[in-house]
């Protein structure tokens, strides 16, 4: 019986958590789409997410593109399919690796920072102070981060796509001695708009999830420094897992009928 009780309790906790998250999400979204908006805050977050994540996302994409080219060469050359390398690189990057890797990197960088900042504000009563100064914390703290996440991640991923393909190109031309013009032609040959667009849709969703998890766990953190640390960990772990699950689901939506 005790075993059943434990399962029941876990299930109830899960339900309350989901309910809380749903309420938090709807409140955050409703503040993000209703004026007035805090422009200064939005811009600050956009710069933080978009601009300062460029180096880490760029490096990730560059080396991913490079290793993709190298790895597919060593595989494809076994059955004389080297010509497919450029296509493999561009499709893998735009459809999957660009958004997923950028998402995971940004979750570690931005999601953690959001949870830590908002969590510290919670435990030092700064969030309460916002309310007493007639400023809704959901509007001032959460909405700008959600908006910045949704808009900046697609831009980051687009950049990552270009850099990743370029990485493949570098390896293809300088290491594997492809003709540059034909590598580029191969890259474009089978690329369709939906490949890029699906990646950007994923990016927008991931950006939302990263910001949401950072804000949610930060907002609910309690119990001093330890609580803030816990919030940071929770936000990164849950954002990463959600990114991988949602990635599968969105891929299914876009490409299942083919």
């Amino acid at each position: 019986m005790q075993f059943l009780a434990a399962i029941g309790r876990t299930f109830l906790v899960f339900l309350t958590q989901t309910g809380r998250l749903a309420l938090f999400t709807s409140s955050g979204v409703s503040h993000a789409i209703r004026p007035p908006l805090f422009l200064r805050q939005i811009i600050r977050q956009m710069v933080d997410i978009g601009y300062y994540s460029l180096p880490v996302v760029g490096l990730t994409a560059l080396f991913t593109g490079m290793v993709l080219a190298l790895q597919s060469y060593s595989g494809f050359s076994r059955f004389q399919a080297e010509g497919a390398i450029a296509t493999v690189v561009v499709l893998s990057i735009t459809r999957e690796l660009g958004p997923v890797l950028a998402g995971l990197m940004v979750a570690g960088r931005i999601g953690a920072a959001m949870a830590a900042e908002i969590g510290t504000m919670r435990v030092t009563e700064q969030i309460d102070a916002l309310s007493t100064l007639s400023t809704n914390p959901m509007k001032y703290l959460v909405a700008p981060r959600l908006l910045a996440g949704v808009t900046m991640l697609p831009l980051l991923v687009l950049t990552a796509d270009i850099i990743g393909v370029f990485g493949g190109f570098l390896v293809g031309v300088y290491r594997l001695n492809f003709n540059p013009a034909s590598y580029i032609a191969r890259t474009w040959e089978y690329l369709e708009p939906v490949d890029v667009i699906s990646g950007l849709v994923k990016a927008a969703v991931f950006g939302f999830v990263i910001a949401l998890m950072g804000c949610y766990f930060g907002y609910r953190s309690k119990g001093g420094a330890q609580g803030v640390g816990q919030a940071t960990t929770n936000s990164v772990v849950s954002a990463s897992i959600l990114i991988l699950i949602l990635n599968y689901l969105i891929t299914g939506l876009f490409f299942s009928t083919k």
């Binding site: 504000m121 009563e125 700064q126 309460d128 102070a129 309310s131 007493t132 100064l133 007639s134 400023t135």
Partner: protein, 258 residues
């Protein structure tokens, strides 16, 4: 109308899980009065203030401000009501992402949509009123000592000229001289604004200086209220013990033998 209390609490209950914190608080604060609330640590003093501000929701009971019930306000109405309030938090709760002047001007810029330049002027004036010169305005809160942070918190609390000001342990953690400076500032600011003030403290020197009236909270109830001058002959053993800071008496600390 003159005898409507500014703030009136009736049978206010609040518990966290199984822990009962407020167990039927009854309290009235008159217009323009300075009430000091004394009581041991963890007796729910901060929780009571947060219930009045709507940062926490009481489980039951009534809280009226200017004769109007506030426990079931919608977020918009709550925001409007909070314009009447200023609060100095226990840890000052300054926004550490903003310079000192923007902290002080926060309510003016965000709450009242004042142009930044004008708000800054007022902020510098308010800083002067709490004895801080204009150089401090550009610093970040983290660069200030505890006493200075409290003063900035005070300047922020009075910046948009509230009708009611709450001070949560304004002198805790300060040396006796700085504590006295803060006390003087509180008395002066409250008088200048003609505001109603509620101060939480367990510093008796501070209480004597600030209070028109004193209320003592113990085990979630107000057990005594009276004029500040009667505090030494209250005839209440709990108050006596607290005022004289004696270890033995009716208030028992839950300390287990080692």
């Amino acid at each position: 109308m003159t005898d409507t209390p500014k703030i009136a609490l009736k049978h206010v209950h609040k518990r966290f899980g199984h822990k009962v914190v407020l167990n039927g608080i009854d309290l009235e604060v008159g217009r323009g009065e300075s009430l000091v609330i004394i009581g041991g640590s963890g007796t729910g003093k901060s929780v009571m203030l947060k219930c009045i501000l709507g940062l926490l929701h009481p489980d039951s009971g009534s809280i009226k401000v200017d004769g109007e019930e506030t426990t079931r306000l919608r977020p918009r109405e709550r925001e409007k009501l909070l314009h009447k309030f200023g609060m100095l938090f226990q840890g000052a709760a300054l926004f550490d992402s903003l310079p000192v002047w923007e902290n002080v001007a926060f309510g003016l810029i965000q709450g009242e949509h004042m142009p930044r330049a004008k708000a800054k002027e007022i902020a510098v004036r308010k800083l002067a009123a709490v004895g801080l010169n204009a150089d401090v305005a550009e610093l970040s809160p983290a660069e200030l000592s505890g006493g200075m942070q409290k003063r900035v918190g005070l300047a922020r609390a009075i910046a948009d000229e509230p009708e009611i000001i709450f001070f949560d342990e304004p002198t805790t953690g300060l040396d006796p001289i700085m504590a006295d400076v803060i006390n003087e500032l509180i008395v002066k600011c409250v008088k200048d604004l003609g505001a109603t003030a509620v101060t939480i403290t367990h510093d008796m020197a501070s209480a004597r200086k600030i209070a028109d009236r004193v209320a003592m909270i113990h085990q979630g109830k107000i057990i005594w209220t009276g004029h500040a001058k009667d505090i030494d002959n209250s005839g209440n053993p709990y108050v006596d013990q607290f005022v004289h800071g004696r270890g033995d008496g009716p208030i028992q600390m839950q300390v287990r033998a080692l």
